[in-house]
């Protein structure tokens, strides 16, 4: 068994999967990072990702273009997040309640629409499409080991890395990013400079929605090519946990996402490794680890001070 593990082919495969699954989480986490840095706690990430997965599938299915599917996924995420923004930011309804409600609503809506569009789906005639294939970066993907892991990924993964750099740059090097960070710590500072707090936060929420939608599209369009209920299986919640675990910093979030991706990937391959434990344990592993992770992160100090608190001008 040990010799099997040592076969570099398997390890490479796991690590490549890790990057793939990790970047899905990374996309959603980056979106939520921006939202939370503005002071808003958006718990509807799962619903937004699901909407993205659905929207992406539908878009691609009917237009026969995967990239148009990605665009509709982003649109779907945007719409759902706009609903959240309407409730939580404009109407100032409790953010936790708003997030949970939007989650429930999005789940109901996507499932209904799917059934409405494909009324006669059974086990044998699930609507499917041809998903993205891996895009090998020329030259770089020929590097032994690293090439397979880092440079033979789906386009969406490269996009995720790029977005991570963009988000980091935005947060720490731009005027708007500074305003955003200040919003999360003390929105009054920003308000007194004459900047519209509500509008800024709403825009941040929309960005989070687009990112979550994008992440969702990754699930349907870059791996399985079908849509089923609960296809996101809690990844939205993992994304929220990753933001906490990554102490609200982009680079740490990157590592956290890759780590969770690794666990996910490992779980899929462990049977191949011949490990003699029930497979359900491995399926449960990401969730167990997330629980441990938030426990370990309980003393994290990076949380925006005004997170989750409505801003009321006095």
């Amino acid at each position: 068994m040990l010799s099997d593990i040592l076969q570099s082919g398997l390890i490479i495969s796991i690590l490549a999967s890790a990057v793939r699954m990790g970047t899905i989480l990374l996309l959603a986490a980056l979106g939520e990072l921006i939202v939370e840095r503005s002071g808003v706690l958006n718990l509807s990430v799962e619903g937004m990702m699901l909407s993205g997965a659905f929207g992406g599938f539908i878009g691609a299915y009917y237009t026969n273009s995967l990239w148009l599917g990605v665009l509709s996924a982003i649109l779907a995420g945007l719409l759902v997040s706009a609903l959240f923004g309407l409730l939580a930011i404009i109407l100032q309804i409790d953010q936790t309640v708003s997030g949970l409600t939007v989650n429930i609503f999005a789940a109901g809506l996507t499932f209904y629409l799917y059934r409405a569009l494909f009324p006669n789906v059974g086990a044998t005639n699930i609507p499917a499409l041809k998903p993205f294939s891996v895009f090998q970066i020329p030259v770089l993907s020929d590097i032994p080991i690293i090439g397979k892991i880092l440079f033979s990924q789906y386009a969406l993964s490269y996009l995720a890395f790029f977005l991570m750099l963009l988000v980091a740059f935005y947060l720490y090097r731009t005027k708007s990013g500074l305003i955003l960070r200040t919003l999360g710590e003390n929105p009054r500072v920003v308000d007194m400079k004459g900047i519209n707090v509500m509008r800024y936060r709403f825009l941040a929420v929309l960005f989070g929605g687009m990112m979550a939608g994008l992440a969702g599209s990754f699930i349907t369009l870059a791996s399985v090519g079908i849509f089923v209920a609960d296809i996101t299986s809690g990844r939205g919640w993992l994304a929220i946990a990753i933001v906490i675990f990554g102490d609200w910093k982009p680079v740490k979030i990157l590592w956290a996402s890759l780590f969770f991706g690794f666990i996910d990937a490992l779980q899929m391959q462990l049977q191949a490794l011949g490990v003699q434990l029930p497979f359900q344990l491995f399926l449960a592993m990401p969730y167990i680890l997330t629980t441990i992770a938030v426990f370990l992160a309980r003393k994290r100090s990076g949380a925006p001070l005004a997170l989750g608190v409505h801003y009321v001008r006095e």
Binding site: L100, T101, A116
Partner: protein, 358 residues
Amino acid sequence: MYKVIIKLPYTIEKRKDISFLLSSLSIVVALTVSILAAAGMISLYGEDVGIVLKAIAGGSFGSMSALIDTLIKATPILLTGLATVVAFRAKVWNIGQEGQLYAGAMGATFVILTFPDLNLPPVVHIPLLLFASMITGAIWGGIPGYLKARYNVNEIIVTVMLNYVIQYLCTFLLNGPWQEPGSYYYNTVKFPESSFLPLLFDTRLHIGFLIALITAFMVYFLTWKMKLGFEIRARGDNPVAANYKGINIQRVTLITMLLSGAIAGLAGGVEILGIHHKLIWGFSSGFGFTGILICLLGRSHPLGVVIASIFFGALHNGSSAMQIYSDVPRSFVNLIMGLIIVMMLFWEAVFKYRLRRI
């Protein structure tokens, strides 16, 4: 580009407080808008709204049989709704009702499978099993409760995670040590008759509904008539002041999660002992999450939860009939429920503002 500014002679300001009348009016508006939206969607679908509504009504209340089915469907979500009420009143965000419900079902199952030859009369056996389901539910709620109380770990994430964990555990057991010998399916052997919940008035309605109603009353009593309920509400409304006045916030947090988990666990026990008489995979069609929905719809009040759960059971039932008479899919019901909650939150918030002439 020119900005067009339209200045109306009105300004929007927030009300100081909202009267009961206005609050109720917002609910009415929410329901009306939702029904109209539903009707709109049905006709968009090409169906006759009248037929669909009649089918729903008939399927939910049209006959004794339909009514029974409605109440049966209402039972588990009434209980999970109550579990949510207890937690949300304390502003402890328990999203783990689904997992606690599984824990409860598994607890009862554990007792039955471990002690197969207990020849107890139902009047002893059933309370014992239901008690076991409450204990296991409480434990599954107590874990996030303890983490929150002692370490201030985010209970939303932990409860959601534990939902997945326990469902996988359940799958493992149903595919392994608990699986009915010789069966290909994920279920246990049939439970002994002494564990069957008795039926009411010679119908299919098991006493689970009664148990749920009693629990609703008990939650009401707890919340407004008991010291613990007072402290739960205090924690939810102002934990700082509550702390200053001697309420042990950590203790209240933990007890809230234990109670909430217990009630959700009870839902699980009731469902398998009342309907399936075995632990079978998929016995819960999202009862836990629906409970959250029900709590929000019922405004975190036991009476509201009772009404909302019957309403939801009715819709669910009706949707089966609707599927027979039309092409509208069943999942329409979930969408409508979601829409109603969004509308309720929306209109209640809108009614908090008013137009003032300037």
